[in-house]
Amino acid sequence: MNKILLIIQREYLSRVKKKSFIVMTFLVPMLFIGMYALIGYMLIKKDELGDVKHVLVVDESGRNNGKFKNTPALDFAYSDAPLAKARRDFEESDNDFLLHIPKDGKNVLLLSQRKPGINDISTIESQLNDINRNDQLLAAGIDTAILNANTNHLRLDTKQLTEEGEEDAGSWIAYGVGFASAFLIYLSLFIYGVQVMRGVIEEKTNRIIEVIISSVKPFQLMIGKIIGVGLVGLTQFFLWILLCVGIAAAAGSFLLGTKSSDKVITEQTASKLQQTEQAKQQVQQQLSDTEEIFQALNSIPVTYTLSTFLFYFLFGFLLYSSIFAAVGSAVDSETETQQFMLPITMPLIFTFIISINFVINNPDSQLSFWLSVIPFTSPIAMMIRIPFGVPLWELLLSMALLVAGFLLITWIAARIYRVGILMYGKKPSYKELAKWFMYKE
């Protein structure tokens, strides 16, 4: 036991002291935050970032003339010239699109100098449809003023019935948290599992293995290494969470502090630009959106999610990394690991893809249930389900099975490992591994 502690200590310290660990610890949160900041910036500024494109409308039906609304991305102009001439002019002009609407209003054609963007197409399409619909409604005797008044957007307020009463369900935030934690588990199982495998291969190719296992049992070395690397992973998560909470707190106080003055400024600019009441409402809407995010985040039980996350990371890691260790023991170099990687990567990738496409949309289905209790798939699948709420017995069953699976797999892996680490120059096959497993002590 004392020796396992020594091994854990060495494996842990030698990794935590590495420069790459420190760099990763600080870089990853920065990258994430930077990425989200960039995406957010682009979403807000997307209209200003692109050039304004000019659309020349040739309307032979005459029903659409002057009815297109200019948007920040598209600028409409109209031409009465016949199509053939307009087309010739278009080729020489700096217009980007030529929209031709035939007499019957069908078979509308969009000509362009370059390949048109999807956003531009859909904007033009929806405007055309709006105009058409308005025409038809007008023909049916409905006033457009009523139509325009009828644009209020309804939002569903979701409440989940629990023993404590009604709770905000916050489905979309559950979606985000589920996806994020499953993705993190998926990624870290790979990253830290491969670290275990590399460590085993290093000891084997360095030939230090023989010295070590003349002092400790192979199993002690294997489990010591796995736990050591696992602790490195936990440390990294812990630091990430700490950093993110710190940054979020700083950013939060900054945002809340400037919010009130923000309102004033936006109101001023709004009046200055003589924008409509609608624009003002939009600004208000945006502000209440951020409040809503904070509220929805509060609907997720943080301690519960975090502790289940740590549990599933730890045991999922223990399960997979013992397989990684067995693979590392069987080969002489990292390039030889390919043939054994499939049984590890397959369940992981399979679960991840199913999880983010199916489980996240149907968290209470039969398939989701099975995926979240089978040890190989449960770390990812269960993390997707957790934010949506999982019955306690399912959670306990899944945890118990994962622990049992870890014990079984580690036992099998250790039997392969103890033989593999002393075998050199043999090209191992699955048959060979089975034989190693059967060797007696």
């Binding site: 020796k3 030698s14 023989e210 010295v211 002590e441």
Partner: protein, 301 residues
Amino acid sequence: MLSVKNIVKQYANHRALNNVSFDIQTGSIFGLLGPNGAGKTSLIRIINQITAPDEGIVLFDGEKLQPSHISSIGYLPEERGLYKKMEIGEQVIYLSRLKGLSQPEALNRAKYWFEKLDMQTWWKKKVEDLSKGMQQKVQFIASVIHEPRLIILDEPFSGFDPVNADVIKNEILELNKRGATIIFSTHRMESVEQLCDSIVLLHRSKKILEGKVKDIRNSFRDDTYKIQCRPNDEIPQENGIFEILKRSVHDDYTELTLKLEAGKTTNEALAFLLPKVEILSLTEVIPTIHEIFVQKVTGTD
């Protein structure tokens, strides 16, 4: 000290050790010899409890080998290896703590050995920055730092330059003088003759020779002698006293290799030769361990 009794080790399709038995006396330097693939490493791994024998038993001080003996055994494997990115001082302490030393004890002894082998300045260096010979020294320290009563050295001199090989040899002798029993696995025979008290020779998984070095060499004497002389007369090939195996003529002397006929003595041979030659020297030809090794190994093939 150590008794190996009827050890059998079977791998999937070959038998690495076939009923091997021998004893090692406390305080002796014991040579474990054999060509490549004879089963030396398999046997060493069994003594180190890295693997277990399929049959037979190993006794350490009369007790069946068990995990508590690990701290009494030091092992320098033939394939050397250390953690490349770890500082060597730290590494030596880690390895000795795995053998059961406490942290302060390990630190003290590591400092003692680093001083002794004149490598204090290397303490903070990483293995990848050291030459091969330096790495060997570190490895040697790691295998003896816990003051084991039994030290197993697998080809200890490979990779050392002659100066450092001598340093290590003297350290081994000193450890032996202070009471450590040493098992010495090698196929470099000259070192065996110098160092070992007794040997066992393994070949094709079996023991084919065992005993004290002196006894073995004596048992391979076959009444062969070398005589350096200056001949005055012809020496007859058929003389009823000896047979001339080899005659080599040098500038100022001739060397004869003789084998005495059964029951004859060197005095009789000298009496026969004296009138015909001027004798410069006479020495008995005792086969070296190397010759015995080659003879035994090729003889059983």
